[in-house]
Each structure stands twice: as C-alpha cells, then as structure tokens.
Symmetry: C2
Subunit: 230 residues, 2 copies
DNA sequence: TTGTAGGCGTTATCAC
DNA sequence: GTGATAACGCCTACAA
C-alpha cells in the first residue's frame, strides 16, 4: 500500500499538520524541519493522494472532453492541443467519445459529474437543452469547441464556417477559377453543412458566377476515405 | 453545491447507512424504505461523489493511457477502442501524450499515481527500466500495447512485426512480384524498424530474391505526409 | 431492518 | 513554529 502523510509525519517526528504545510508550501516551520520532512518524503517515496485532496479541496484537476468520432484528424489535433495545455497547467483530461448521437451523452455527463471534474469541453455537436441544463446544474465551467449555441450563453471557440467557406471560395475565384466544386458535410448539418454552403454560394453570387448544385457533394462522415471517394 | 448522501438521508427520514446500502444494492431494507430513498434521490437529483467513494474503496474506475504522438491514425483507433471498452465497463480513460521521449513520461506517471488510477496502458514506446520500476511500485496492473518488453514480465498486446512483414512480403512475392520496396520507420527502431526489416529480408532470402538496400526507405515520423513523401 | 461511529488521506482552524 | 482535531462524502463493522 502507498504511504500516507501519516507515515511521513511519524518518520520525520512531526505532526501531519506540519507535513501538510510543507507539502503545500505554506508558512510556519523551520528550514530545519522542512529538511527533515523532505528527507522522509524522499526516502519513503511518498506521493500525496489526489483523491483525498480532491475530496476536501473540491478540485480534481481533471477536465472532461466530449468528442464525436475521433477518427477525424481534426479532432485528434484538438485533443493533442488540449491535453498539452492541460498538462502544462497540472491537469489531466478524460476523453469521452459520444459516438451514437445523444444516447451516451447523458451517461457520460453523469460519470463526469460523479467524478467531480473541474470543467468541460464540448466538441463539435449541437448543444441540446438537456445537456446544457445538466451541465449548468453541475455547476462547472463549460466551453464549446468547434460549435456554438444560439440559445444558451455558453462561451465557444470555433471558426466562422460561413465566412471561412466564403473566403476560400473567393480566393479560388480571384485566382481565376470558374468551375468550383465543394465537398461538405451533410446538407442539413448545422455546423459543417448549412453555413459552409451558404458561404460558398454567397461568394459565387457576389462574383456573378452561377451556382451549380451538382458541384456540391455531401457526405455524412468525416473520414479521410469519404473525402477521397467524394 | 451538490447534494450529499446526508441530504438524501434526511429527506427520506433514514440514516445515511441505509441510503448507502440501497445505493450499492446490498441487502437489509424494506421495499418500502427503498422506494422512499429512491424517491428522495430522484427529487434531489443526487449523484454520488466518486471522489469520496474512491478514497474509501481504493478504486477510481479510471485508467491511464500513455501514447506517443497521437497524430497517427493508428493510435487514434487504439484510443477509440480502449475508451469504448472502458466506458462499457464503467471506467474512464485519461489520455497522456508522452511526446518528447521520456522527458514527460515520469511526470505523467507521477500524476497518474497521485490520482490513484486503477490501471495503465503503455503504448508504442520502449519500456525503460525507470518506468517499469515506478509502475511496479505503484502496484497497479499495466499492459503494453503495440510494444513488448524482453526484460520485464509485462503482458502485452501487439502484432508480431517481424512475422507481419514476412507475411506481407511473401504475399507479394507469391503474386509474382520481383521488385519489392519497403517503407518503414527508423532503421534502429526496435518496433517499427529492426523486426520489420528482418521480416522483409527473411522473406526475400527464403525466396532467393536478392535484397536491394536502396529499396528500403526509412522515415522517422509516422505522419501520413511522411509516408507519401517516401 | 435500521442506526451509530470509526475511518479512508488530506486540509484547515484552532489552540498552545 | 507546532500539534490536536474537525471536516470533506462515503462505506462498513458493530450494535440495537
């Protein structure tokens, strides 16, 4: 079994209170006692128990990341970045794949709630009322990534899909291209569909280029293969 | 603040012990009291605190996953599968990117240890003595994924690289091909290099085909781009 | 069937 | 400067 703060205290001939102070570098002890305690910690190979700490501090230094199919390299990059920053800040990230739309989402939120995570990152899916209310009740900060919500006041980080599509299309037009095609997500997709198509068409219209619906190819999945096929 | 078992007990007019029993569906209560308690739980929207539970049960239902650069779609697939199974079993997975070889590894192991994770999956890197000893001291089960260790008795799951390369090469040979090239990892790589090259050469030799070293192209990174370039 | 009380490993508030 | 001691939220003998 792992050593506890009690073992350290005993070995260093001090009270657990003192050990705790040193561990959290607060004030109230001699350099001498500090050395003693540090030595005991070293010799025992003692590691504080984050679970116990979490119980009293009400912080677990853990954040939850809800992502859809992780197959897309885009989401993978997001995870990389998030985990990197979290680690630098002394936190870990629990990854949850909410594949089958909605079904597992509530289950995940529940698990994360029980684990008392410090915050939540919600990626790429539409924030349903049920989710929003639940997280609100959890009382932890949440941020949307690569999505946004018109209905609920939740901070988000994402690219403006309509504008991005507009800019991309405009760029090609200004390069002199006339026949421009578009590969996009599902026609009804609130994120990868509608806004991007709008940007695409807007750009064409603004440059007096007729829109050929056949030049827009839809796909439901964001696998590399799908893009290739399209 | 979230409700505790105490709130439930009070609302249901029972002791916390009874609530606990019902929560963990043990025996020792009437159907009647069970109904009462369940009703109180429902009304309060009570969710047990996994942190407190972890402290006493010594199980956190959390496992750690150490992966190298997650850019590779292979690793991404692994994560997907692992998370899926873990979730089904009621656990969560904390993902850690051990990018800069070794530097961050010990730091991660330490964090995971403090969080008292239940188990560890170690992916794609060589298991150094330092890591092995540390995890052994943690006293939790570990399994190697896509690696193996000759020095330490750690269970592993991986494809046999030498055999796989041999089989692939043999397949091409039997298809009638004579000029076979190979794209592989770093020449000295203990996983993606040496064994696969051996399999490749063995197959050629066994079929009396001369080995042309120029037909083996090495690469250090496993990005898609790198493969393309090669 | 039910409740009381001690303990899990820490932190924090008191005294001394 | 230092040490008891009461929480934190839950589980579990032990009683009743």
């Amino acid at each position: 079994m792992a050593y506890t703060i009690k073992d350290v205290a005993k070995k260093a001939n001090v009270s657990i209170a003192t050990v705790s102070r040193i561990l959290n570098n607060q004030v109230g002890y001699t350099e001498e006692t500090k050395r003693k305690v540090l030595k005991a910690i070293e010799e025992l190979g003692y590691q504080p128990n984050a679970v116990a700490r979490g119980l009293i501090n009400k912080r677990t230094h853990t954040i939850g990341l809800l992502v859809p199919k992780l197959t897309s390299t885009f989401v993978t990059e997001l995870l990389r970045g998030i985990e990197k920053v979290a680690h630098k800040a002394g936190s870990n990230v629990i990854v949850c794949h909410t594949e089958t739309r909605g079904i597992k989402m509530m289950k995940y939120l529940q698990m994360l709630n029980e684990k008392r995570i410090d915050g939540l990152i919600f990626t790429s899916e539409v924030l349903k009322e049920e989710y929003y209310l639940y997280v609100k009740k959890m009382g932890i900060p949440m941020v949307l990534l690569s999505t946004q919500s018109d209905e609920y006041p939740v901070p988000y980080v994402k690219v403006n899909d309509r504008d991005a599509a507009y800019t991309a299309t405009k760029y090609l037009i200004e390069k002199g291209h006339k026949e421009i095609g578009m590969l996009c997500g599902n026609k009804a997709d609130l994120i990868a569909g509608i806004p991007r198509i709008k940007g695409f068409k807007d750009a064409l219209n603004d440059h007096n280029i007729p829109v050929n619906e056949n030049h827009i190819i839809f796909s439901d999945e964001f696998f590399f293969k799908m893009g290739l096929k399209a």
